[in-house]
């Protein structure tokens, strides 16, 4: 019996990774739930929007050293020291933070432009026709395939690694040396950044929706479209702001996921299932639900696919120690977990944990 080592092993292999993954899913699900609440359809293109945002961010990350060199060459006296100071905390200049964080705002901007353009050219037409939401769902699938192709065309279908800077905040070896325990607890920089960024983004979003005039007008539009019109709220403006926020959420989620794991367009397409599961489990249209749902899905997925042998080995008397891996499901089947949860929720509580907006 060694409870402390069991706890550390649990934290290392389940708690920390699942929290980071949950935060990424929550950010993705928030985007889906916002579109569902305000534009009133499920946006199947969301996974590929995340891929697009991450792709732009990666391209900008790669070009930062070039810009840096160009600045050094052309403005050695005035601009270069400023750029140097801005870059110093990031990986490209030997700092601990990933350079991608610096490129993130550009990624968000370009993604916002893409989404606004898509809305202008595609969704706007269907809104004008007063198309039923189900038509928009199918339209979003078409958009999904387009974005999918676009991303693969630009960056290719392969894995891209773009994480730089310090790899760990606390590495397993450091942890062992610090505590003298047999088990190590690794805390990756990408996990730390994911959690901190997610908290900041979620807090900002909630403040925006509940405290600002524009945010309240978005909730009003979601609640009652006709009455929003009668109050002088411009629907096109609400829709545009929604797309911009969704672009920000999707890009942040995509970049954080890419930093934590790696960037591969197909993975982002597959992420659609856990993200939708998160949004639906929490209650579509409810931002709080999206966050809770994200963590529910992430923790289920990680706990079900984790091999518990090590943790149980510490907890159980030697005679009862498991001989197998005690892994309920191979990681290859992790998507089945979201799917099963989705089915169970839809069977027994179709409105989700937070009952969405129908209450």
């Amino acid at each position: 019996m060694d409870v402390l080592n069991a706890l550390v092993a649990f934290a290392n292999f389940v708690l920390v990774p699942a929290t980071a993954y949950g935060a990424q899913l929550a950010l993705g699900a928030l985007g889906v739930t916002l579109i569902y609440g305000i534009l009133r359809f499920s946006n199947f293109a969301h996974g590929d929007t995340m891929a697009f945002g991450a792709m732009v961010t990666i391209l900008v990350t790669w070009s930062i050293p070039l810009v840096f060199a160009w600045l050094q060459f052309n403005f050695p006296t005035l601009l270069f020291p400023i750029a140097d100071w801005v870059l110093s905390p990031f990986g490209v200049a030997g700092g601990p933070l990933p350079t991608a964080l610096l490129a993130l705002p550009v990624g968000i901007l370009v993604t916002a432009l893409l989404l606004l353009g898509t809305d202008r050219v595609i969704y706007g037409f269907y809104r004008q026709q007063r198309a039923k939401p189900v038509v928009l769902v199918i339209v979003s699938m078409g958009v999904m395939f387009m974005m999918n192709g676009l991303v693969r065309f630009v960056i290719g279908p392969d894995d891209q690694r773009f994480a730089d800077g310090a790899r760990f905040i606390v590495s397993a070896r450091e942890f062992k040396a610090m505590t003298g325990l047999r088990e190590g607890l690794a805390f990756k920089t990408s996990q730390g950044i994911t959690i901190v960024t997610a908290v900041i983004v979620v807090a900002a979003l909630f403040w925006f929706l509940n405290r600002t005039r524009t945010g309240k007008s978005m909730r009003a539009y979601s609640d009652n479209e006709d009455l929003a019109l009668l109050s002088g709220i411009n629907p096109e403006r609400v829709v545009a702001i929604t797309w911009i926020i969704v672009a920000a959420l999707a890009t942040v989620a995509g970049v954080l996921y890419g930093l934590d794991k790696s960037f591969k367009p197909f993975t982002y397409f597959q992420l659609l299932l856990p993200i939708f599961a998160s949004a639906i489990v929490g209650g579509l249209g409810s931002p709080v639900g999206a966050i809770v749902g994200g963590f529910v899905i992430a923790f289920s997925e990680v706990t079900v696919t984790y091999a518990w042998k090590k943790v149980l080995g510490y907890l159980m008397p030697e005679a009862l120690e498991p001989s197998g891996l005690v892994q309920l499901l191979s990681t290859d089947y992790k998507f089945a977990v979201s799917f099963v949860i989705l089915v169970i929720v839809l069977l027994f509580r179709p409105t989700g944990i937070f009952a969405g907006k129908t209450g």
Partner: protein, 278 residues
């Protein structure tokens, strides 16, 4: 409407992919098709929907050369049987319906090409019959949304609304959807008053409230009219409404049947027999 494949309802009930809540039914005028032009004010009418003809989408016309108007600071009431196009006429005046013919003029200006939100900015306010509050927002947020277009301090107007409907002040932090029917109507009227409109349009403000609350609401409406706000109202309780009306319109099948002062209409045996139940 049925002609439009985009509006086919097939497969639209799966709530995991579609969200029918709060979806709009308005077909708003989208952009100024014609610049607002000043014309002489017709017989001192402040707001007039003149010879309006139109319907929803590709469907048949609901309104046929229908004219409704209200003078400054007066109360005009539209009555008529079910399906007479009363609510449609109101929506048309507010630009939530594309007109095929006719014009809407406010204070002599042609506003037919303005979007609904532009009409709000011009000093018009509308309380629809159904879902006329933001049910998931608090009472106070409802009022704030009413004043969405205003950039100045709205606290004074909010105080005035609370003075008119004291119960709302006590419940201002409450979610509006949790209030009783009468209180919801007060929120609805309060929201509309937040823009400090010159014209207030009410679509059956007393639908589904008890007789006591109804009398109370009528009193408040008269109070509002006394402050100089013109009121255009559709009412199911025709007798009581015509009693307080300066002008009454009787619509039948989208056409004007009778137009006169409220008292004259009440005294007219034809009108009494056909529309007021004897």
């Amino acid at each position: 409407m049925t002609q439009n494949a985009y509006q086919n309802d097939r497969g639209n009930k799966d709530r995991t992919i579609t969200n029918p809540d709060g979806i709009g039914s308005a077909e708003p005028v989208r952009a100024a098709t014609a610049a607002a032009t000043a014309k002489p004010v017709a017989n001192g009418q402040f707001l007039i929907g003149d010879g309006m003809t139109g319907g929803y989408g590709m469907g048949a016309d609901i309104l046929h050369d229908c004219t409704i108007a209200v003078k400054k600071g007066e109360i005009a009431v539209i009555v008529g049987p079910n399906g007479a196009g009363k609510s449609t006429a109101m929506r048309a005046v507010f630009g939530m319906l594309n007109l095929r013919q006719g014009a809407v003029r406010l204070d002599g200006q042609d506003i037919s090409g303005l979007t609904p939100q532009a009409r709000v900015a011009k000093g018009m306010a509308f309380v629809p019959q159904n879902s006329n509050i933001f049910a998931s927002l608090t009472v106070e947020e409802n009022l704030e949304m009413g004043a969405f277009l205003r950039r100045d301090d709205i606290n004074r107007t909010m105080e005035q609304v609370y003075e008119l409907f004291p119960i709302l002040k006590d419940k201002r932090r409450q979610i509006a959807g949790e209030l009783s029917g009468g209180q919801r109507q007060q929120v609805a009227v309060g929201r509309a008053l937040m823009t400090e409109p010159q014209v207030l349009m009410l679509d059956e403000p007393t639908a589904g409230v008890s007789p006591i609350v109804m009398d109370e609401l009528f009193d408040r409406i008269i109070e509002v009219a006394r402050t100089g706000i013109s009121i255009l109202m559709v009412e199911q309780n025709a007798r009581q409404a015509l009693n307080i009306a300066d002008t009454g319109y009787v619509l039948v099948q989208g056409r004007n049947r009778y137009t006169d002062t409220g008292q004259t209409l009440l005294a007219d045996p034809e009108v009494r027999k056909s529309f007021l139940g004897g």
